[in-house]
Amino acid sequence: MSAKNDGAPWRVPVTLILVGLAVLGLALGPAVGPAGIHLRDVVDAILGGLGFPAGEVSPITRAIVWDLRLPGTVTAAAVGAILGMCGAVMQAVTRNALADPYLLGLSSGATVGAVTAFLAGASLLMPVGAFAGALVALALTLTIAHAGGRASNASIILAGIAVSALGAAVTSLLIFRAGSSNAYQEIIGWLLGSIQANGWSGAGLAVVSLLVFGPPVLASSRLLDGFGLGDLTMESLGIPAGVVRLAFLCAVSLLTAVAVSLSGAIGFIGLVMPHIARLLVGRGNAVVLPYSALLGAIFLTYAEVGSRTLVQPEQIPVGVITALAGAPVFGLLLIRTQFVGAR
């Protein structure tokens, strides 16, 4: 079982570094930003927000730190963790290294929902529309995949592609019909991924979803390992592979629907983080799942800080940063895999 332990020697130092980076990112999020708030005021605003005795800060400063920056950072960390973990699960259950959390058409379904809400004049309801759209896409994909009875791995992936294409076409039609520059501005921001400025309600939803769905998924890592053996082997061991896969797909899709409703369709995290995790800590899902989550959280936390601070005072959609950073990393990983494979 050498393949399973190839990252093991590095596990302790890697863990220490990652936890350090995560803590630093969580501190950086509320501390830096284009509003240029003094660090002491940041600390006072957070202490005050937590209900501790703290120095006086202006209501605006307090609102920026406590109601914009901190929930934005927490949302980014939770969404990043969700996407990283869900990507790892998707890659395991489909035995496909290119799978990501949006595999079942979720991002394009969510976009249709968000765009519909926006065009109906309810941009505040875009997250709700996105969640509903993601669920519709999920239902549609699973219906198509199971239409002929038992859904094979390939039929699920292909159904997902079909639903994605349909969603993209509907979105294009809606945008084309709308034609206004305002609509483009808002919808492109959504397509590229932007953390919604909805304060603690969004952050709370992300954290609670992660805490409810995360532990059971992490605890089922051995079941996920089973998919690597093939459905037939699993069934010979008494595990109903099709049913288990469906359960995982539904759980992961619900989580992803929450994520996409809070931040739009942020790409590359779900695809890339599991690969980086395998590189750093080895192949078993017992380690790949939590480390993918940790890496996703770190990555999106820093990307969110970058979106606010790289081109001040302008804001870059966070998804642009994750793609800019994620795509080259993915390319390097592929090159490395080819070299390893050639050895």
């Binding site: 284009p34 875009m126 606010r308 005072p313 804001q315």
Partner: protein, 322 residues
């Protein structure tokens, strides 16, 4: 298909050349008097467009074009409107009663050609493209003159010139030449109006909010809104960005504590909805300007740098001092 089938075309071209109507064969346009019959050639958004005669059948795309045609007294030549940003004002209704609004978007070429226009007046460069009415060069070959408001030329991006009233006045003058009318009176009255606008002393910090929930899209330092804020004496909180419009972080907008917010009102995104977004934002709702609804409102066309921009300045100045 034989070569013969092209003969009528060749003959037609020869006749055109003989008549001196081919591009380059025209007399100097500046020599033609407003009422003259000479061909007028205009360079519009980097493209030469020629007008052999004063256009009679106009399709006006976007509200800014309709407003301009009314201001110039040419509204009776409008055969159709399209892609309007606001309800047609009551004073236009009598003239536009029989005029169809053919599309909520840029109209397709077929719908457009069916109206047999000889002039398309577009508020945005993107209104004239394949998939919509068609490319300008193509429309030109069909004998349809096109004109795009200079403020909205496609390349007017990040390094666009700082907006000022002369951009609108040059549009008025060019339209005067195209239609062979004397437009100097309109320019003179707008100059007078602009001169009458008194900036408020030490005006409030002002945010010009266009749209956006996750990220606000606001006026920067170079567009028509920046021009309007300067003339009103308002202190634009995002003045340092050298762009007409910019996406900034909410914390930037909030930390600059605007005391007054200008909301852009359009049919596809109303001011009431924008006020809701501001009231729902956890930082913005802390601002007294939001809590007390200290809002001014402009129409989309007024804020776009159009013939209604200066009249809107007069109105806003009245609201600020009144």
């Amino acid at each position: 298909m034989s070569l013969l089938s092209f003969r009528p075309l060749v003959v037609g071209l020869a006749v055109l050349l003989a008549a001196g109507c081919a591009p380059g064969g025209s007399p100097a346009p500046d020599a033609s008097s407003p009422s003259g019959t000479g061909e007028v050639v205009i360079e519009n958004c980097g493209m030469p467009v020629s007008f052999p005669a004063s256009p009679q059948r106009i399709v006006a795309i976007k509200s800014t074009s309709v407003d301009m045609l009314f201001a110039l007294g040419l509204a009776d030549r409008i055969v159709a409107t399209a892609f309007l940003d606001e309800e047609v004002p009551p004073e236009y209704r009598e003239v536009l009663r029989e005029v169809p609004n053919i599309s909520d978007n840029a109209p397709t070429q077929e719908a457009l050609l069916a109206l047999k226009p000889d002039f398309i007046y577009a508020g945005w460069a993107s209104n004239l493209s394949v998939g919509g009415p068609g490319e300008r060069a193509h429309l030109d070959r069909l004998g349809i003159g096109t004109y795009v408001s200079p403020v909205a030329c496609e390349d007017a991006g990040a390094d666009s010139p700082v907006f000022n009233e002369e951009i609108v006045f040059s549009e008025v003058a060019e339209l005067g030449r195209i239609f062979r009318i004397d437009a100097s009176g309109l320019v003179a009255s707008q100059r007078e109006m602009l001169a009458s606008v008194e900036p408020v002393v030490s005006g409030p910090r002002t945010l010009w909010y266009s749209s956006g929930t996750a990220t606000p899209f606001v006026a920067g330092g170079t567009g028509a809104p920046a021009f309007m804020m300067r003339h009103l004496g308002l202190d634009n909180v995002v003045a340092e960005v050298a762009k007409p419009w910019v996406s900034v972080a909410w914390e930037v907008v909030a930390s600059r504590e605007p005391e007054l917010i200008v909301l852009v009102d359009s049919v596809w995104n109303t001011k009431a909805h924008k006020a809701e977004v501001l009231a729902a934002n956890p930082a913005m709702r802390q601002l007294p300007a939001v809590a007390e609804s200290r809002y001014l409102s402009v129409s989309f066309a007024e804020g776009a740098g159009s013939i209604t921009t200066i009249p809107a300045l007069v109105r806003l100045a009245g609201e600020l001092t009144g």
